[in-house]
Symmetry: C2
Subunit: 432 residues, 2 copies
């Protein structure tokens, strides 16, 4: 069996491509290797043609876009257009979250079409099998589930979300310690329903070593899912969220010891004053493994604008140490995202990730702002627009409302023109 990257690094074998990766990420090779060896950074897509891409300590905060069909809408062509929208907005990874009968077909096509790492949630495929073959989503079959996982890794999936921390013990506690929004993770809900229905333990927890065997074989990154994540800010940092995180910390350790790279998934809905402490707590409970956050949304009241509620949470989370941001689109809580929603969701998350990268002191991030502001000061519109996160939109707004030189906002009273009235001031005011 081939060694995993982690196993190779432990033996002092450093693949050549890590050099380029380190250079691209503005980190020394030593530090990059060291962070991977500590389990604080993971590499996605290094065994496929969709990577390598690194998530974790010392590198840029990354952004993932979820795409995928549901049973009620969408199809392969639409989802491929959404993939394009995500890539146009420069997502660092995508997840195919299809939960529909043609799930395999969609996955294979997305894997074939994506130049960035692709993740999946295998329990979705297992749930469709349970539903279509055995009549109910809760009728999961443990053996079949592991086969599904292996099939997906064989197909070349770069990372999988596995809700290993939704244990029988936690599910049983649900009746004692109710929460406002219950379980809102689809994988978490399906797993909890299975446990309640059968009285069995979560197979991904009970047979975790079997999962590790498969992940090791394909050197696939495990993303330990947060099936108990809060679905309302009222439920944030509660018994179930923290209880699951404690379990994920133990499981991360076991995976890491085996040489399987692992990320931790995090919430969800978190009021702003708990975001920083949540990130720090999760990192502490999970051995500083790379943290992959969904949002967090800092309020529940803005369906239609959850790309904004989550950008607020993600920026603060990123500043506090989160490494990988799963986007949220404007249509979250209302419907499957459109192509435009996908684009807008990635941009909002990238703004949050970039705001965080500035606080992390990443030189290229800081330089980007400097260069744009110099172009702005100099009224160099072409350069300002070229440096914008979405040049197309910036150009469109400017064109719709352009003046000559100054923009229509201030017109002849543009600060940069007013100050030109007094030449000596202008010379003083700006760094040459």
């Amino acid at each position: 069996m081939n060694k995993t990257l982690l196993q190779e690094l432990r033996q002092g074998i450093i693949p050549e491509w890590l050099n380029q990766l380190a250079e691209k990420e503005e980190i020394s090779l030593n530090n990059l290797v060291d962070n991977i060896l500590k389990g604080e950074a993971v590499v996605l897509g290094h065994r496929t043609n969709r990577g390598p891409m690194v998530v974790g300590k010392g590198v840029k905060t990354k952004v993932n876009a979820n795409i995928g069909a549901s049973t009620l809408t969408s199809n392969l062509e639409t989802e491929l257009r959404k993939l394009k929208a995500a890539l146009k907005a420069k997502a660092d990874a995508v997840m195919d979250l299809s939960l529909a009968e043609n799930i395999k077909e969609i996955r294979k096509k997305i894997l074939a079409s994506s130049p960035v790492p692709v993740g999946t949630v295998p329990i979705y495929e297992e749930a469709t099998l349970a539903r279509t073959k055995r009549g109910a989503t809760v009728r999961l079959d443990a053996d079949e589930f592991f086969t599904v996982i292996e099939d997906q890794m064989k197909d070349g999936v770069d990372f999988v979300t596995v809700h290993c921390g939704v244990t029988k013990r936690l599910v049983e506690k649900l009746s004692e310690k109710p929460r406002l929004a219950g379980i809102v993770s689809r994988g978490g809900a399906i797993t909890a329903a299975y446990i309640k229905h059968t009285g069995n333990e979560n197979p991904l927890y009970e047979y975790y070593d079997r999962l590790l065997d498969i992940a090791e074989k394909y050197d696939c990154v495990l993303s330990l899912g947060d099936g108990m994540r809060p679905g309302a800010i009222n439920d944030a940092s509660d018994f179930f969220e923290v209880g699951e995180q404690e379990i994920l910390g133990e499981l991360q350790k076991r995976a890491f010891e085996r040489g399987v790279m692992t990320m931790i998934e995090g919430p969800g809905h978190v009021p702003l004053h708990l975001v920083a402490e949540s990130v720090k707590r999760i990192k502490a409970l999970t051995n500083n493994a790379p943290l992959y956050l969904l949002g967090p949304l800092v309020t529940d009241i803005a369906p239609g604008y959850d790309h904004i509620t989550s950008a607020i949470g993600a920026a603060v989370a990123g500043m506090s140490g989160a490494d990988f941001i799963c986007y949220v689109t404007p249509s979250e809580h209302l419907g499957l995202p459109s192509e435009q929603d996908v684009f807008d969701g990635v941009i909002a998350s990238r703004i949050a990730a970039h705001a965080a990268d500035i606080t992390k002191g990443l030189e290229s991030a800081i330089k980007w702002d400097e260069e744009l502001s110099i172009a702005r000061r100099d009224l160099d519109w072409d350069r300002q627009i070229a440096l914008s996160i979405d040049p197309e939109k910036a150009r469109r707004i400017r064109k719709e409302r352009s003046g000559e030189g100054a923009c229509t906002m201030c017109g002849e009273y543009c600060v940069f023109l007013v100050l030109k009235d007094v030449e000596e001031i202008n010379a003083d005011l700006v760094k040459k």
Copy 2:
């Protein structure tokens, strides 16, 4: 001369309407009066039919929308439509920032049309007079300027931004300590240019008592402008920003002693890791006066999306103690906002303000999230949409992509439906 509200309260005279205001704001009358008496809260619009509205300690974080024409575009009708858009999105106040020849006409019409407090920046009118009568923006006339201010207050303006802290001493330092983006406040730039051009002191600083006389006469709230605010994150918390804040602290104290209610304006462009400390520093330097923030934008690289970059900054600033958020629209840095930009800007700022209010422990804010999440959990779409910050948009997205019961995001695998498969779970999972 009539007493100002602050002077009345100091004499133990408590106007009847303060009771309703306290009730509306979920604060005890005692605390409200106390906060005003300490200068930590101010009331806008109490002498006109557009208030009273309170900004400061212990009450909801408020949102202002800037409207107004520029020399290059827009007209009265357009600006009145923008006023409507701001009100539809539930702005708590508007500022007429017109910098055009028909500035008086626009102001009077906006004052007559707005049910919420209206602010202005009198130096804009003085600048148009300087330009049209004397040929150059920098040819301000001190006497004329004070007449403009008094005229505006006589017209019934509820608050005015006055850039009193742009002093000769600070402007002279600009050549020694250059900054990346220079001065980006229009009022600040005009004042600095005037100082450089004439060698005179800023008249609003030199004759500050004259300004206080007028403000006292009309009991108009002074908003001490941040003419030296950073226009690039690179310039945040620099010598000029902090130097001006020190001056504003002294001026706030003098106004407060005179019985004139005063707010402090703040930046601007601030990297995320400096937002909380900036708010705390400004509050410390300015006697905990209500803080009125523009943004702050946490990155410079997203023209077209500055409602998002500023929502991130505003939420964190609000959590750290900011009281009043001036919106930023998607067209900031590119052109005068459209009606849709105005609407989107107010909503983004309201999301930030609400996220902050949750952290401030405001009961009605917390309850709003709870109620919406209960409706969401119960798949009560009508109620979820009615409780949304923008029901129209939420309804539109839902309608475009609706399924029956569950939304198209998860379809038949909706967590709330999956769990219904197992009735007992459903009973356990949610708080009744």
